[in-house]
Every structure is written in structure tokens, then in C-alpha cells.
């Protein structure tokens, strides 16, 4: 068994805006690209050109249809990766100590050289956020780009996870969620950021900003009606109005 740290100095994580995510998968492939080339073993693909292609991804997008009580159905794009939980259930179950949570920043990582690929951590994770790489036989998961965020070979503005850097819609935010003054904490406070499945008790670091209300037009019709008060019903009346209006310009 591996212990979680009693506390962490910081708790880094992602804030993902479900109101803005268009489901483009940019974060998915930029993650795949960076993490194939960097931390640990490459993210492999089996039958990449075959009948049942499958591979290791640390971040995937799911799309869900939601039917509100009134109004048309909605489609929510939901990116999901490791949530770097404060009470990460994947860590204590690891028999070799390969799975651990960093005390300095709260990132949950797998030390691949100690990982035996037993899969207990993936079983323990309530979010399904870990994938066993079929070629390497080790557990892969989001590293929050630990090899980018402190990387002195990168310009400072690039020291963010690859998915955050690439997100075209700006729907992904990175920062210290243990600091109430941080930009991400402020965003969570303003927008009612939510924990995913809080009942699981894992206390995820990553937060999701809920979609804003949509299709609310029916409540606004009376307020807006005066904007369409007719100036004329017929072309002739319209031309008269035109003449009067032009005089005023």
C-alpha cells in the first residue's frame, strides 16, 4: 500500500468550461502527441490501421445529450482525464508504490519503472481515468504535463499542460486550486465550478464549469416586443417614414 501525503503544498489541476467546450478533440491529440514523445513510455496504438484500432489516450472527450424539462435537447461535450484527486483512491491500492501523489503540487503520477501493470489503480479510480498501455504493460495517466509545467527549456508562457496550451476555445484552465486567490479558484467561485461525482469522496482537484442556461428566449419576448413596433405597414407609409427619418439625420 502507498500512502497519500497528509497534505500538499499546492494542488494543481484543470478547470474545464463545459459552456465553451465545442468538443473538437484538440486537447486529445495534443496530449497524445506530447505524452507519446515525453514522460515515460510512448502512448501506443494497437491495430492503428486495422479493423479494431485502439490506443492509449490520457484525455478523451465524451458527448452527452441532455433533455431539459423545457426546450430542445442539448449536447454537452465532456473532456475527461485524471482529476488529480486529493483523496486519490488509485494511490493507496497500488501494491508497488508506483502510483503516488506528489506532495509539492498534488499531481498524481505513475512511476513506470515500479509499475507491474496489475490494473488495481484503474479499478479503484471512480472516473475511469487510467489506461493500461497494451504495448508497454504499464499504467498511463494524465501527468498534468509535469515535464512541461516546470520545464526551463520552455518559454514561461508555455509551461502549462499541452491540452491547455492548445485548446482553441480557451475552455481549459490550469492553476493551483488550493489557493483561493488563484485565477482558477476565482473562476470556479464565479461560475459555480463543480466536482465530478462528489459522492465518491475522492475530492477531485479538477473542476468543471457548468453550461450556462440555454434557449431561454420565451421569457424575453415581452421585453423585446417594443423593438419591433411598426413604423409602417405598407411601402407607401414606409417611404413617408423614411423621409421623416432622413430629415433627422
Amino acid at each position: 500500500m502507498t500512502q497519500l501525503p497528509a497534505s500538499t503544498d499546492r494542488q494543481l489541476g484543470l478547470v474545464i468550461d463545459l459552456d465553451t467546450c465545442v468538443g473538437c478533440h484538440a486537447c486529445v491529440t495534443s496530449c497524445k502527441g506530447w505524452n507519446t514523445e515525453n514522460y515515460g513510455a510512448p502512448l501506443s496504438d494497437q491495430e492503428p490501421y486495422g479493423g479494431d484500432p485502439s490506443g492509449t489516450f490520457l484525455n478523451r472527450i465524451h458527448s452527452y445529450e441532455v433533455q431539459p424539462e423545457t426546450g430542445p435537447a442539448q449536447l454537452i461535450h465532456f473532456p475527461k482525464s485524471c482529476l488529480h484527486c486529493e483523496d486519490a483512491p488509485c494511490v493507496p491500492v497500488c501494491p508497488t508504490g508506483a502510483s503516488y501523489k506528489r506532495s509539492e503540487d498534488g499531481i498524481v503520477l505513475v512511476n513506470e519503472s515500479d509499475c507491474i501493470g496489475c490494473g488495481l489503480c484503474a479499478w479503484a479510480c471512480p472516473y475511469g481515468a487510467r489506461e493500461l498501455d497494451q504495448a508497454e504493460g504499464v499504467m498511463k495517466k494524465c501527468t498534468l504535463c509535469v515535464d512541461r509545467i516546470y520545464n526551463e527549456n520552455l518559454p514561461e508562457e508555455d509551461r502549462v499542460p499541452a491540452c491547455v496550451r492548445t485548446c482553441p476555445a480557451g475552455a481549459r484552465h490550469f492553476g493551483d486550486l488550493s489557493d483561493p486567490e488563484s485565477a482558477v479558484s476565482q473562476l470556479v467561485a464565479e461560475r459555480g465550478g463543480m466536482d465530478l461525482m462528489p459522492e465518491q469522496g475522492a475530492r477531485p482537484a479538477n473542476k468543471y464549469l457548468p453550461p450556462r442556461p440555454k434557449d431561454s428566449w420565451e421569457g424575453e419576448t415581452d421585453v423585446l416586443a417594443p423593438f419591433l413596433t411598426p413604423v409602417a405597414e405598407e411601402p407607401k407609409g414606409f417611404l413617408g417614414w423614411l423621409d421623416r427619418a432622413l430629415e433627422k439625420i
Binding site: T20, V22, G23, C24, H25, A26, V28, T29, S30, K32, G33, E37, Y39, A41, P42, S44, D45, Q46, E47, P48, Y49, G50, P53, G55, E65, Q74, Y100, S103, L109, N111, S113, A135, V146, D147, E152, N153, E157, R165, P168, A169, G170, P211, K214, D215, S216, W217, T221, L224, F227, L228, P230, V231, E233, E234, P235, F238, L239, L242, L246, I249
Partner: protein, 942 residues
């Protein structure tokens, strides 16, 4: 136990070197940083300095490494040795390949250059390929716009001198209400996502108009799930509401549009509906100061929107009056329109009111003085912060041109074009139709064509017809069937060539267009046309040359395959002469350059054309002594001059006093300078010239300096399109150029000079009750046409494409998860997997475009889900409409531009017993490149 945390390297070396070039995973042309390790491509990310994407990158771009290493890459020139379509080839040398091409191309150039049909697909070098085709002398050249979005481009250019996407964009920083119509999700890829993100950050509202609620429509604050093909009517109903309420920008309309221009109103006149002009040909308005007619652009003139005059016994009234007569009619009221477009009338009214509120109650003022083309100084720039964007969803209908015009007229009525918060042009636009070339057709054996192929006709005299009224072009572009076909009709080339209508050709030369699969209507028949033989056993289309980087379905149908490079191995030029990467704030152009050299015997297609041009002795490609003028495309990019001082790239040219931008002599170090600058060059527009560009003299002068115009070219927007009226007038019997009788009525109806809506033409030819469901495709954000399938990462995201069925039909057919449906159109039937989707127009089904693949193509295994479960709707769509008993076959295209009417498709659905594979099935083709590896563990660094 407490584990000692392992020490990890937090600062690993990222790469040996970053090489900056331009993405080509789709057509958006973002800047990319290619990280190199050991001379190999290790990682690709967005370039933060780039004007298009500012650092971000989409799913396709970030997966570029898997395109670059794709096993489907062609390896060497191929010569067909088996029957066409078999995929049996032998590899040959480049010399042999080019000599073979010359042996076909030289004799026809010397005798009948029109026997070469040269069409390019998703190519971004049309200014170059067009130059080559012009030098060759065939009239038969175009790119793929005819089956893509010519309605959008031409509708915009004829109305206001530019359209959406590369022509211009919403003022993302200032707009407060953004409406997006029918946008395929793959482009304008990153800028729209970035823009929507910025709107959301500011709390601005997004309204999505689309039968399908995915992507941008999924995040829209309001979703209008409109009935396909009715957008034009919906827009004109908004116009009705706004005009009736007087919520239009009168000052803007009077100054900057042809709303005050006077029209001949005498139905008996041969000039009925044409614009009253003075001796100089200038449109006339009534000047409110004098009550007398004056040229629209006279100094200090105050055009009267309600002016009228009798001249030589003929009444003239303004365009504005004509618009009032048309659009105030109750036929455009929400109550009448609502049921036709599938919307609650209150919904239309609400939207119109919301637009009115934002445009006029939340107007923006920028304290930026500017001077207009009449010499009048303005202290402020007034903005109407409502903006619009639209793409194929409205343009790929047979009423798409008029719908695009309707949308532009709506934004012009609001005064929101080229004003703060509205729509803004990107240089070289604004550029009106009248400032574009007219089309040219005259082919002479052994000589170049008499001018550029593609252009913007101003009337019937500009059509491409022989003296006896036959089409000059193989695609029948610029004929009475589709007079304004500004991008040609690539989708008609193969069927016309096969039918010998209007004539037979010798060589079909295609680049980067999958015409034997997802880029053609009626795919199975097209494959047959490509393999058909005549009574002598010869192929009906005698020679087919195809260039592609990858083993696409079309490769199998070529006699000669010229293998192109990947986008990381080539020179390219994203030119101001063509489709540049400008933004509203700046002109910009860019290059691609070989960040890696090919490891195969392949060559960039443009370099191959340079070589072929020299071998054929084409003017512009050889020196006076007959030697080759350019070593390769890079040499052309640097040294070609379209006019003195104007070349493909505008940055780092050689001026009198050193380096300059825009006009200047060639500079041998130009490409190196682009590379040093990240692969692009930006030319900023001065503050005073940022808005009101068509009328702003500071902009006009800046554009002349840069070489975009030869002289200032201010103009007014054409709410009323006189070129359209000229065609309509001809159809009414006036003038020397007369249409064939069978087209008269249609021309009268469709060539309306004010935007009009008519139902999709196919609705008139088939029983809409028998085919009650609309069927559409969308391109996903993570795939680009057929290319994504060969990409190991992207195909894991989109490897299957069910038919998405709305709740109404799902329940009516009693469908359950895993069921299949048979989808039948008036042309054909397919049997495919179905999936339920609630966020859909009630009567619309759809699927992702071009996921379905033919077995054997793209180096995929034969059991790839793309080939067994993936499918195309193309099999349901014919390039001709169903016969209606008049003895004629009518093209399934927009009658104005010839744009392929993909989205007019109607079908009926039945639950089907699941077959083993999607139906119809096609034989496998033999892959010239084998198949890919069983596993990927891609890591180039140690």
C-alpha cells in the same frame, strides 16, 4: 508505507530545434512549431506569433505527425499496368513519368488545348495552377469551389465584395450578438473556436442556426433547428420584421450602399430594372440637398433613399423603395414563414427584436476620425455589434446563392458590415465583383488562353458560349444553366467528359481531389465512367493523370500517378494573389517549407508543374532560349512576377532603398526571411483604415501601396445586383444574348436582383411526401475530408459514422440501439447503422462526411470499420435531377453558380435487417503501398 517520491526530470530537453511552417491538416493554414529531434518530427504545436491561430491548434493539426508518417503515403511515380480501377501499377522514374505526361499533353496543346481538363481539389495554390493552365491554353481549369462553397463566395462578392472565412470575419473583440448558420465544423477551424471562446468570456450571445446541434451549435446560447434549405426564407423574414420596424441603418444605407440608387421602373423599357447612370456610367441618386440627380460618389452628395425621378418619360425609383415593396409584403411575415421553415413565428420575431436591440440600443462608437471616398471627414466609427457567419449549410443548396445574398443584405441593412462589432473584411478583400477579372475562354492551339479562366460575369456578354450557343468549357460553367459559376463545376467534369457533352477530352488531370469516392455525387457511376470503354475498346476518357500524396480511392483510376509530398516536406505559398492568411487588422501571407526532406521518391506537385511547364515550353515557364525558367516551385515563388513588382509573396521584397513589403523586386533571400520570421509575414493596417474599408480612403491608399489594388477602388454595396438583373432581363427577351427557351422561366425566377427564396429545385422533381426526410452530412472538427482516416490517432476518434436519426423518426420506425436502416432517395439506396440523436431538426438525418472508405484505400486493412460500417451519402445523390418528362436532364446544382446541391437530398427511411457490411458494397482495390503496421509505439527521441 511512505514512499520516497521518485526524482523525475522536470526540465527534459523538448527538442533539438523548432521549425516553423504552415499546417495543412485542413484548409485553415495555421502556423505550427515543428519540434525536431535527431532530424525527425517529434511534436507539433501551434505557433503563438501566427496571425491565424495565435498558438492554439486543433485536433487535426496536433495529429499532423501521424499524417506525416502515414503508411498510405505514395512512394514513387506509378504507371498503370492493369485495367483502370484495379490498382495495378508499376513504379517508374520521374523522368519516365514526366515524359509520359508530356507525350499526352504536348500533342493536344498543339492541336486542341481544350482537350486537357485540369482540375484541382483542396489545393491552396490556385493562383499558380491557374497561371499554368492559362499558359497551357486550355479553358478547362478550375479548383473545387463548385462542389464546395462557391455560393458563399460568389454571393458575398457580388453583394459586398467579399464573403466569410478567408474573406473576412466577425469583429470577435466587439460583437455582442453572433449568429452562425450551417457551418461545417472543420473550418474556419481555429479562428471560430477562438472567437466563440472570446465571446463567451465577454458574455456575448451566440445563436446557432442549423438543423443539427453539435459543435458550435452545441455551445450556442440559442439553437434554431431550422428545416434544411429554408434559411433564405427565414433570413428574409428577419429582414421583413426589421424593415417594418424601421430598425435599419438609414445613414449607412444612404452613404455606403446602392439603396438610394435609381432604377428604371418601366416594364416596357429595354432597360427595365437597370440602374440609371450618367454619361460616365456612374449610378445616379437623388441628392437630398438639391432634389436633383447626381452621381452616387459626387463630393458632398447626400443620397436620398426615397428619391424618384422621371427621365425621358421613364419613372425611376430607388432600390430602397423596391426593397420596401418586396419585403414588407406579408408573405415574409413570421406567421407565414414560420411553418415553412419549421419555426414558431414568435421565435422569428424574438430574434428580429433581439437583433434590433443589440444593433441600435447597444451601438458602439470608436473615436477614430476617418475620411470617406466623397471626401467627407467623420469623427467617429459607429458600429452595430451584430455579426454573422455562414458556410456550406446554406451554400450547398440549389437556392444557396440567393440565401447567401439574403444574409449579406441582412447585415448590410443593419449597418454591421465593416463597422465595429460587425463583420470585417480581410485583405485583399474588400474587392467587388466588378474589380475581379471577367472569365476568359478563348483557346488557340499552341498558345496561352486569352486571360484568367475564372472571374465574375457582369452580364450575358461575359458567358462562355460558342457562336452557336454551345458551352466552351467541359464543365459548362458560365452558361445559361449557371451563369455565375465563378469557381467552375468540378463535379460535372467527369460525367460531361464521359458523355462527350459538350465534347470529348483527351486527358483528365486532377490534383488532390477524391473524385472516385467522396468528392463526387453518384460515386458508383463515376467509377464506371472512369473505366468505360468505347466501341474500339479504348477508355472513353483516354488519359487520366492524378497527383496525390496518399493512396486515395482515386489513385486506382489513374493511368499515371504523380506522388506529392506531405505538407512538412514541401514548399508552398499562401499568397495575397490567392487565398492568403490575412486577418481584419492586417494583411498576411505565409509559406510552407520542407522542415524534413522526403524519404521517398516523391515531389511537390507544384514543382512538378514547373517542370512540366518547362518541358512543354509554356510561356512563363521557359526563358527566351527555351531553357527552364525556374528550378522548382520555391524558385517560382521567389522570382515570378505577376506584374512588375508584384509576386506571390509580399514580404521582404527588394525596394529602391532596401527591403520593402508589397511592391518590390524579387529577393533571393525572401524564403529565408519568411523562415526566420516563423513562416509568415504580416502587414498591419493603420488605425484610421481599420474599418469602413470599402469607403475609407486611408484603407484604399494603404491597399494601393501594398499592391492589393492598382488604384483606389471605393465602391458601394449592391443590395440590388444589376448583373443578376441583366441576365433576368435577357430571359424576359431583351438584348442580343438570349437564353435557350427551356431556361427562360427559371432564369426569370432565380436571377432576381433582390434576394429571393425558392424551394430547393429537387423538391419540384420528386414526391416530397414519399421522401419526407432531409439528409445531410457534416465534417467533424477532428477530421478533414477523407484525409483523417489514414491518421492513426484521428481514426480512433472518428472511425465510424452512424446515421443520426431524430427522435420522431426513431420512435416512428421503432428503432433500437444497434439497428440498421435502409435509406432511399429518388436515385439510390444504402443500408447503414443508425443511432438516435435528440438534438436534431424533427425531419433531418445526418452523418459525418467522408468517414466511409473503399476497401484497400488509404493503406487500411480490408476489415477497417471505415470500409465495413462507414458509408457515404454520395450514393444517394445524382449529379442530375430526376427527369420531369420534359426530355431534359437538369443539373443538381444552384442555377446561378452551379454549386453542387449536396444538401437538397431527401430520403425515406426503413428499418433493415443488419447486413454483414454497409450496402452497397464495392470490391477492394489493390493498395499500391500495402497496409500499415500492427502496432505503433511512436517516439523519435531517445
Amino acid at each position: 508505507m511512505t514512499v520516497q517520491q521518485p526524482k523525475i526530470d522536470l526540465s527534459p530537453k523538448v527538442s533539438d530545434e523548432v521549425r516553423k511552417t504552415t499546417c495543412y491538416m485542413c484548409a485553415c493554414r495555421c502556423g505550427i512549431n515543428v519540434h525536431m529531434k535527431d532530424g525527425k518530427v517529434a511534436y507539433i504545436e501551434g505557433n503563438r506569433d501566427h496571425p491565424v491561430n495565435k498558438g492554439v491548434l486543433c485536433a487535426k493539426g496536433a495529429a499532423g505527425i501521424m499524417q506525416h508518417n502515414a503508411p498510405s503515403r505514395l512512394r514513387a511515380p506509378l504507371k498503370r499496368v492493369g485495367p483502370r480501377g484495379s490498382g495495378e501499377f508499376e513504379e517508374i522514374s520521374w523522368d519516365e513519368a514526366l515524359e509520359l505526361a508530356v507525350s499526352w499533353l504536348k500533342p493536344i496543346r498543339d492541336t486542341a488545348p481544350e482537350k486537357l481538363a485540369f482540375f484541382t481539389g483542396r489545393d491552396q495554390s490556385q493562383s499558380f495552377t491557374g497561371f499554368w493552365a492559362q499558359a497551357y491554353g486550355t479553358p478547362n481549369f478550375a479548383a473545387h469551389g463548385g462542389f464546395c462553397s462557391v455560393n458563399m463566395a460568389a454571393g458575398g462578392i457580388y453583394t459586398m465584395g467579399g464573403a466569410f472565412w478567408e474573406f473576412g470575419s466577425p469583429d470577435w473583440d466587439r460583437t455582442k450578438l453572433f449568429m452562425i448558420f450551417g457551418v461545417a465544423e472543420d473550418h474556419d477551424s481555429n479562428p471560430i473556436k477562438m472567437g466563440i471562446g472570446r465571446l463567451k468570456e465577454r458574455g456575448a450571445r451566440v445563436v446557432g442556426v442549423n438543423p443539427i446541434r453539435t459543435g458550435y451549435n452545441a455551445v450556442a446560447d440559442e439553437w434554431i433547428g431550422i428545416t434544411p434549405g429554408t434559411d433564405g426564407l427565414f433570413i428574409l423574414s428577419l429582414v421583413h420584421c426589421l424593415m417594418k420596424a424601421g430598425k435599419i441603418d438609414l445613414d449607412y444605407l444612404a452613404r455606403f450602399t446602392n439603396a438610394p440608387v435609381l432604377l428604371n421602373c418601366d416594364p416596357k423599357s429595354a432597360e427595365y430594372g437597370l440602374i440609371l447612370r450618367d454619361e460616365e456610367g456612374k449610378p445616379q441618386v437623388i441628392d437630398r440637398r438639391t432634389g436633383k440627380p447626381a452621381a452616387f460618389d459626387a463630393a458632398d452628395v447626400k443620397p436620398d433613399l426615397g428619391g424618384h425621378i422621371r427621365r425621358a418619360g421613364i419613372s425611376h425609383v430607388t432600390v430602397m423603395q423596391k426593397m420596401a415593396e418586396r419585403y414588407l409584403d406579408a408573405a415574409y411575415s413570421p406567421e407565414v414563414v414560420g411553418p415553412q421553415v419549421g419555426l414558431d413565428p414568435a421565435r422569428i420575431r424574438h430574434l428580429a427584436a433581439d437583433i434590433a436591440r443589440v444593433a441600435f440600443d447597444e451601438a458602439i462608437e470608436i473615436d477614430q476620425p476617418w475620411t470617406d471616398f466623397r471626401g467627407e471627414r467623420h469623427e467617429k466609427m459607429i458600429g452595430r455589434p451584430v455579426s454573422f457567419h455562414a458556410m456550406r449549410g446554406i451554400s450547398a443548396h440549389s437556392n444557396g446563392f440567393q440565401t447567401a445574398r439574403a444574409l449579406h443584405v441582412l447585415q448590410i441593412l443593419l449597418g454591421s458590415v465593416e463597422t465595429p462589432g460587425g463583420f470585417r473584411f480581410k485583405p485583399p478583400y474588400p474587392k467587388p465583383a466588378s474589380a475581379h477579372p471577367r472569365p476568359h475562354f478563348m483557346a488557340t492551339p499552341g498558345k496561352p488562353l486569352d486571360g484568367p479562366h475564372l472571374g465574375y460575369p457582369q452580364g450575358p456578354a461575359d458567358l462562355g458560349l460558342t457562336k452557336d450557343g454551345q458551352p466552351i468549357r467541359i464543365d459548362k460553367a458560365y452558361t445559361w444553366e449557371n451563369p455565375l459559376s465563378a469557381h467552375g463545376l468540378m463535379h460535372m467534369v467527369i460525367s460531361n467528359a464521359h458523355a462527350g457533352d459538350p465534347y470529348r477530352i483527351d486527358t483528365l488531370f486532377l490534383y488532390m481531389a477524391n473524385m472516385a469516392w467522396n468528392s463526387s455525387m453518384n460515386t458508383a457511376a463515376v467509377m464506371q465512367m472512369l473505366t468505360d470503354t468505347d466501341e474500339n475498346g479504348d477508355y472513353v476518357i483516354p488519359h487520366i493523370i492524378y497527383s496525390d500524396a496518399y493512396s486515395s480511392e482515386t489513385v486506382a483510376y489513374a493511368d499515371l500517378v504523380l506522388p506529392d509530398t506531405t505538407y512538412l516536406e514541401r514548399h508552398d505559398c499562401i499568397s495575397l494573389l490567392d487565398r492568403p492568411i490575412s486577418e481584419p487588422e492586417a494583411a498576411a501571407d505565409a509559406i510552407r517549407w520542407p522542415v524534413v526532406e522526403p524519404d521517398r521518391d516523391v515531389r511537390g506537385f507544384q514543382s512538378v508543374l514547373v517542370d512540366l511547364g518547362a518541358r512543354l515550353g509554356l510561356p512563363g515557364f521557359v526563358n527566351e532560349d527555351g531553357t527552364a525558367k525556374y528550378a522548382d516551385y520555391a524558385d517560382y515563388i521567389v522570382n515570378h512576377q505577376r506584374k512588375p513588382g508584384i509576386g506571390p509573396l509580399s514580404g521582404w521584397r527588394m525596394g529602391d532603398k532596401g527591403l520593402t513589403s508589397g511592391r518590390g523586386a524579387p529577393n533571393e533571400a525572401q524564403i529565408d526571411s519568411y523562415i526566420k520570421n516563423g513562416g509568415f509575414s504580416v502587414f498591419h493596417i493603420p488605425d484610421e483604415a481599420q474599418f469602413m474599408k470599402p469607403w475609407n480612403m486611408a484603407y484604399q491608399d494603404w491597399a494601393v501601396d501594398l499592391g492589393l489594388y492598382d488604384a483606389p477602388t471605393p465602391y458601394i454595396f449592391e443590395l440590388y445586383s444589376e448583373p443578376l438583373r441583366r441576365f433576368q432581363l435577357a430571359a424576359e427577351g431583351h438584348g442580343p444574348h438570349q437564353p435557350p427557351e427551356h431556361l427562360r422561366e427559371r432564369l426569370k425566377q432565380t436571377m432576381d436582383p433582390l434576394p429571393v427564396w425558392y424551394p430547393p429545385l429537387s423538391d419540384d422533381r420528386e414526391d416530397t411526401e414519399a421522401f419526407p426526410v432531409h439528409a445531410l452530412t457534416q465534417r467533424p472538427m477532428a477530421m478533414y475530408h477523407s484525409w483523417g482516416t489514414q491518421n492513426a490517432w484521428l481514426r480512433q476518434i472518428h472511425g465510424r459514422n452512424p446515421l443520426y436519426v431524430p427522435t420522431f423518426w426513431w420512435e416512428k420506425l421503432g428503432l433500437a440501439d444497434g439497428d440498421w436502416v435502409r435509406v432511399t432517395s429518388s436515385h439510390g439506396a444504402i443500408t447503414v447503422p443508425a443511432a438516435h440523436m435528440a438534438a436534431l431538426n424533427r425531419d433531418t438525418v445526418w452523418t459525418w462526411n467522408a468517414i466511409g472508405k473503399r476497401k484497400g484505400a488509404w493503406a487500411l486493412d480490408r476489415d477497417a470499420p471505415e470500409a465495413t460500417k462507414g458509408f457515404l451519402l454520395n450514393h444517394l445523390i445524382h449529379e442530375l435531377l430526376p427527369p420531369k418528362g420534359d426530355g431534359l436532364r437538369w443539373s443538381n446544382s444552384d442555377p446561378i453558380t452551379g454549386q453542387a446541391a449536396w444538401f437538397d437530398l431527401r430520403v425515406r427511411l426503413e428499418k433493415a435487417d443488419p447486413p454483414a457490411e454497409v450496402q452497397p458494397e464495392f470490391d477492394a482495390i489493390r493498395s499500391p503501398v500495402g497496409t500499415g503496421p500492427a502496432e505503433l509505439r511512436w517516439k523519435v527521441g531517445s
